[in-house]
């Protein structure tokens, strides 16, 4: 959940690797001649998965928390049985599962990993073991949504790095909310924050079906396959696993597993005939895009999109901070005793307590008193209200630096306090306040990455998603860092120009 510094920790670690070779992985996958042989000789197959990803794939049995259950557990156990080996469980964050696979942390990755052209470039996939479809979930009370087409113009939640996300984005005019956890989209759907959720059928089946407030809409849409990911060189293992999958299909064991979990549907029949389709992924694209530059530039649009969100949130929350901060500063300076107390208390509390708590209360606490904010609104409100406390003090300093004679002269001309402030004091105070305001604005760009806790995909989160998908942590990290710098630098240039303009004819009377 703490996305804020992830990019920088990773960059830091890369740096460390460059600096001291002692941090290099002590061995790498290429040391193996044949993983299949190793598995057999060890009598153990190591399986990488992320139990945090949750039901119904792999998860801790709510009744017996120590035990992992899920349809994928059953599949892996069946495979292990066929191989004549035991399963060793290897918990790994889903984001970096293919990266760990490549490092050699485990033999197979099997955890609802959709076979996509990108992934096919970094991992070897077996034949699919499940044909997933995407399921729309809407509120039971909402009868506007009955087909995929009805999602046009709606707010739809989905999970990151999924085909459902891609599907929604291709539709163009859908407002997509991307979540990291599987519980939150359904929670936000009940809270009216989004209109529908589109996720892989297994997730919908597990989380939405039992909830009477929600309903599964129409027939599943889209289609794709889950495959077992292996290291590229493990072709022998792939062959063996393909054979085993074929066998589990033919004997009906897979069908039994899926049926038990409510996941069997006609789409699965395709598993018998999928081969041409898989080939399409595994053989043609690598020749085109295996070279890295293409890979990285292809991700740029997504990074830019993340950067735009960062900029958007930062701009809007800064606008709020500026307005509210000004109000607070005026209350402190010119208000009566009560206004002064309120303003001072606001400033002390919002400066003294951490932003993250403020965001949590706003997003998850407010619905309890009947105010349900969208993630975007909560992000802007949270950041804006926090920074307002800082801005208030900056304005106060600026206003107090203006010669009292200025106020007196304006008042003696019959101007009201409001007019004096607006026309005489603030324009002069602004010049003094610009540099510290710029400081805060630049800090805000970095702080805004905190809002990824409430399902907003801004720059840092985009980086995390792409880095996990492409496994090019280093180049993407550099690009992301440059994007951040690219936001703050023009801002600081512009602020200086503005400041200069305000100073130009002002010999400071």
């Amino acid at each position: 959940m703490v996305m804020k510094y992830r990019i920088f920790i990773i960059l830091g670690m890369i740096l460390q690797i460059f600096i001291s070779s002692e941090y290099l992985p002590k061995s790498d996958a290429f040391a193996y001649q044949d993983t299949l042989d190793k598995i057999k000789s060890r009598g153990v197959i190591t399986w990488g998965f992320d139990a945090e990803g949750g039901a119904p794939y792999v998860f801790h049995d709510p009744a017996h928390p120590a035990k992992l259950i899920g349809f994928e557990v059953e599949i892996v156990e069946a495979i292990a049985r066929e191989l004549g080996v035991k399963v060793q469980f290897f918990q790994n964050a889903w984001d970096s599962i293919l990266l760990s696979l490549r490092r050699g942390d485990f033999d197979i990755a099997l955890n609802g990993i959709e076979i996509t052209p990108e992934r096919v470039q970094t991992a070897l996939f077996t034949r699919p073991y499940y044909a997933y479809t995407e399921q729309i979930v809407a509120r039971a009370s909402d009868n506007r949504i009955n087909r995929l087409e009805d999602l046009h113009g709606k707010k739809v939640g989905t999970l990151y790095n999924t085909e459902a996300k891609r599907l929604l984005e291709e539709m163009g005019d859908v407002a997509v909310s991307i979540y990291s956890g599987q519980v939150e989209p359904f929670k936000d759907l009940s809270l009216n924050r989004i209109d529908a959720v589109l996720v892989d059928l297994p997730i919908a089946a597990y989380y939405a079906m039992p909830n009477p407030q929600l309903r599964m809409v129409g027939s599943p849409v889209g289609e794709g396959y889950y495959g077992i990911a292996l290291r590229k060189e493990d072709t022998a293992l792939a062959e063996e696993l393909n054979k085993i999958t074929e066998k589990l299909l033919r004997t009906g064991e897979l069908k039994r597993i899926y049926s038990r979990w409510g996941l069997w549907n006609v789409a699965q029949e395709k598993l018998f005939f999928h081969e041409g389709l898989l080939q399409q992924y595994t053989e043609s694209p690598p020749s085109v895009s295996e070279t890295m530059p293409v890979g990285v530039t292809r991700f740029l649009p997504t990074l830019f999109k993340g950067a735009l969100v960062t900029i958007g949130i930062s701009l809007l929350s800064m606008m709020l901070a500026v307005t509210l901060g000004l109000l607070l500063a005026i209350m402190r300076l010119y208000g009566n005793k009560w206004f002064q107390m309120i303003s001072t208390a606001y400033i002390e509390i919002y400066r003294g307590t951490p932003l993250l708590i403020q965001l949590y209360i706003l997003y998850y606490g407010m619905p309890n008193i009947g105010v349900s904010l969208s993630a975007f609104a909560a992000a802007i409100l949270g950041l804006g209200m926090n920074y307002a406390a800082y801005e208030a003090e900056i304005y106060r300093a600026g206003i107090q630096a203006i010669h009292k004679g200025q106020t007196e002269a304006a008042l003696s001309l019959g101007m009201s306090r409001r007019l004096t402030l607006k026309r005489v004091i603030l324009p002069q105070a602004l010049r003094i306040a610009i540099p510290p305001m710029t400081n805060d604005f630049i800090a805000l760009f970095k702080d805004s990455s905190l809002v990824s806790v409430i399902a907003i995909t801004e720059l840092t989160k985009s980086y995390g998603i792409l880095a996990a998908a492409s496994m090019d942590f280093f180049k993407l990290g550099i690009i992301t860092a440059l994007l951040y710098f690219g936001m703050s630098y023009p801002l600081s240039r512009y602020a200086r120009k503005w400041e200069k303009k305000l100073t130009s004819h002002d010999r400071n009377l």
Binding site: G405, A409, L411, S412, L413, G414, M415, S416, H505, D506
Partner: protein, 251 residues
Amino acid sequence: MIEICNLLKEYGRQPLFKGLNLNISKGSVVAIIGPSGSGKSTLLRCMNGLEAFQRGCVSVEGHKLYGVLERDYNKGQESIIIKNIRRKVGMVFQQFHLFPHMSVLHNITTAPIHVLGIQRAEAETDAISLLRKVHLEEKAQKYPGQLSGGEQQRVAIARALAMKPEAILFDEPTSSLDPEMIEEVLQVIKGLVLEGMTTVIATHEMAFARDVSTHVVFLDKGEIVEQGSPKAIFSNPQNDRMKAFLSRFMK
């Protein structure tokens, strides 16, 4: 038009005015003279609601401002009274206090446009003719920082006049002016008087006080030591303190 009764003003525990009374009738030109630190500026500031005072009252055409320790003092009403007073009484400061971020023209037109609601074009025409009066029409687009001291002084006068007050308080309006300009300002003020404007001038320029005023007040250590027509005061001062003060002017 302006009435000051029993004004008591203290800085900290040091009393400046200890019950000062002054009556300024409509259309009169009152010159306040006296040594430095005698309270001339403070008296003007009290008349315009810029300086709070402890006791007594200042009344401008019925708008009565009480000292904060008076029984009749009313905090809620205060700002309304002050506002009304300021609409009637303009002020030119000893240190000008022009708005440094506005051009000369903008300095003059801001208040008329936003307070009186005059059209911009009209306000600018008025401003230009005021600038012409003070010989600064070619500096209209300059900023205060680009003006000499005397030029700033004149802009400040034009700015106050632009509000068309019924009375105007000048705090040493001629201190940065050269003799020619003093003559001009004298003419301007005389013109204002003809239009019925009440004028109060704190000044060190005895000749100016003598030439322009209809009434002279001599202030010393916060007390009115002597007052009367300029002729009486300058040609025949009664008080010894006053005589000493005027000696240099007289010789």
